[in-house]
Amino acid sequence: MASGLTEVGFSWPSWAEFFNALTLRAGFNARVVTLGTTLLGSASGLLGTFILLRKKALVSDALSHACLPGLVAAFLIANGFGFSGKSLSWLLAGAAFSSLLAVLFIQLVIRFSRLKDDAAIAVVLSVSFGLGIALMSVAQSVSSGNQGGLAHFIYGQTAAMQFHDALVMGGVTLFAAVVLGLLSKELCLVAFDEDFARLQGKPIAVLDFFLLGLTVLVTVVGLQAVGLILMIALLVIPAAAARFWTERLKIMVWISLGFGAVSGYLGSIASALLPRFPAGSVIVLVSGVLFLLSFLFAPKRGWIAAMVQNFRTRLFITQDHILRGFFEEMEFNADLKTLKMHTFFKHATRLDRVCLYLLQWRGQVRRELDAWSLTDAGTAQAKRLTRNHRLWEEFLIHYADLAASHVDRSADMVEHSLSPDVVEILEKALAEKDQAQAALASEVPGSVHPLGEKKSEQGPSHG
């Protein structure tokens, strides 16, 4: 058995096979399947945007699990009447019915019991799926072998997809696109400000019902492709991935649709080429890769971009602190015009040194042999910063009733982000307080707290 892990029982596909599959030349059936899954991915991506916005991702999970009892019940009923129970549309109608019932039940549970959303969804999900499993065991004993296909709806079986099914998926995608297009403004409003929408008279329950109804439709149609357990993945992951790339709804919809389509496309091709790689799982994993890439690399909201932005901010703040620190040293000690390098480096971190060189490069600091001093530009910037810092301190003392010894920390952080118009507001506010008049008199207000002691605690560059 242990050898089973290491022996590789299949051969990787050749490049020619791969290329053929990619360009849809691997045979009619393969084309049909790829088309079907691509359309399903598009529809799911499109719908998923709104589901994400309305925060109904896990309701969709419950919906897809609740398909099972209806599916099996439809089979049993058909069987009971003497049919083989294999009519796809009949089975899917049953699935849709029980799925919609689940939506209703979730609302009922929230309304009439002490359970909140999450518990209601969990209960409906598990009990309905359990009912489905129970019914499946009944089907197993009642029919004789006809029920084998039912399990395929749980895990999916793309190989059985017909051209007709792909057409249905196309139709559903189009339908979903039209409905969502018409309702997008209302859905958007409800997603972002439900109370306002209610005030405006928008029928929120109806809109939600439309959204969930479309979800049921797409889920039921997708049961064959990816199975009901993984439908949730297609509905949530492309939309979540798209979220990283934009703040605008219209663009997010298109990106999400694109991600879904790509997942369906690449997933089904990979699954067809590699034996015993079930299509549903591969499609989901492809979308997972897209999600990971978006998570890492998206500009602005991606993780790497955020780290970079973080770091840049720290650089700016540290540079500001160095300038102001030096300025305050010169204030404290009137003879001081330059600062010895070794004095600086004794307490400086690596970041501080980098920032010192950055300041030099920006022309705010000048290096003379073994000491450095502020240039005019540097002095101007330092004065501006110190002024911001001290105005803020005055503001905290006179308007927030803080003690003079408690204002330094806050001002340390705020001084970097005070824009000129905010400074103007500060000046106006301080002008109204008599005790603050002295602060406004000079170019750089005096410090409300002693500077010297602080310096010895914290080193030269952190004021």
């Binding site: 058995m1 242990a2 089973g4 892990l5 022996e7 029982g9 994400l52 925060k55 109904k56 991702a57 896990l58 969709s60 999970d61 699990h65 009439f112 019991s113 002490r114 359970l115 909140k116 999450d118 518990a119 969804i121 969990a122 209960v123 999900l125 598990s126 009990v127 799926f129 359990g130 009912l131 489905g132 499993i133 129970a134 019914l135 499946m136 065991s137 009944v138 004993s141 895990y155 357990i229 993984l230 949730i232 993945a233 949530v236 992951i237 979540a240 979220r243 990283f244 034996p275 015993r276 790689f277 079930p278 799982s281 591969v282 989901v284 994993l285 997972g288 998570f295 993780w303 955020a306």
Partner: protein, 447 residues
Amino acid sequence: MDETLYRLVSIDLWPLVAGVLVAVTCGLIGNFLLLRKMSLMGDAISHSVVPGIVAAFLIANSRTSWIIFVGAAVAGVLTTILVETVRRLGRLEAGAAMGVVFSILFALGILMMEQAAARHVDLDADCLLHGQIETLIWFPPNDLGQWLKPATLSMVPNEVYILLFTLVAVALFIKIFFKELTLSSFDAALCDALGFSAKRIHYLLMTMVALCVVASFFSVGSILVIAMLICPAACARHFTDRLRTQILLSLVFAVGIAVGGYALGAFLPQQLGYAHSISISGSMSVMAGLFLGGSVLVAPQYGWVAKALAQNRFELRVAEDDLYGFLYRLEEVQKTDMATQVILDGIGGGRVARKALQVAMGKGWVVRSGKFLALTDEGRKRAKTMVRTHRLWERFLNRELGLPTDHLHIPAERLEHFTTQKVAHALVPQGSDSLEDPHGKPIPDQD
């Protein structure tokens, strides 16, 4: 041993015991999931332990090895970490973050299972889904005295021992960390401030959930663990507001669900004439749903029936008080010849009004004088209180809140039914003899 008893014990005993153990273990820890509004984390974990289990199975090559638990614990912690990361750094809402993480992990698990099947390794996808509790067969020795011998006990299915062990672990965990769990569930900030890391407790709790899920996997399968995690606690929630009581009640319900579910699946079909039984995990989760439905309906105070009855009683009381007030106001303007039906319509009409009249007459506070209704002395006392309260409110709303005179009646109409004596007393302005309401009507004295 008797034939039927032997069959019962060999086929039914251990599945029943296993079912009860699953229900009790999951139900126990599910109390805290319900409390923290993390029911769906149970769902997420039960999906995402699958790759961990498959990996462990491939390494250990047996279904009941301790390596499976390690795989599960790792998967559980990993899920929690990933969900937190996606939620925080990706700035997605909690549900979407869970959906992303668990569906990717589950897809991975399915893929691994298919690949394992390709290499002729025996792990059945269906087993993962709904367990194989029915296979816990055990052939007991005929002589009862033999039951406690080690040889016999070693033949008891492994799954039962695993469940027992997990139950003890969970019970100990809850006993030891009860204070921290409770505090972090109700007030995470205070918990942190007091020095107990709420975050660590969260991770610990999720690890325990993962262990429960895995122990239960091979009995009831993945999806149905969720039912066992939530339903017992959810049922208990409707009967009490106190956490300790809720936990104890959830254990009772858990046993009931397991036993009832087993009976439903194993014995009911035969009673109904079907030769085969129903999947036990399926029937247990259906029973869980039925129990929950029952609790929602019949729980005293919080159940639907109780609330409907309380609502009826309330409406009746309000209608009755309205009747007294109405008749008093008729007396004030000396109109004693209003038809009964008109009066009933005046206090809202319908079945409630008729019942209110019945009650009032039964108490002897309202009598028929000829064709018309009249207040007795007792009734008039109550009426005066109601009208007094009503007009005091109108006065208050007009003078203190500045409401115009045509906006006073409706709020006063509502408030009069909720005013205690203390509040009514506070509404009376200092040092005034005969007062008038803003419409000019006199405010009756207090009797």
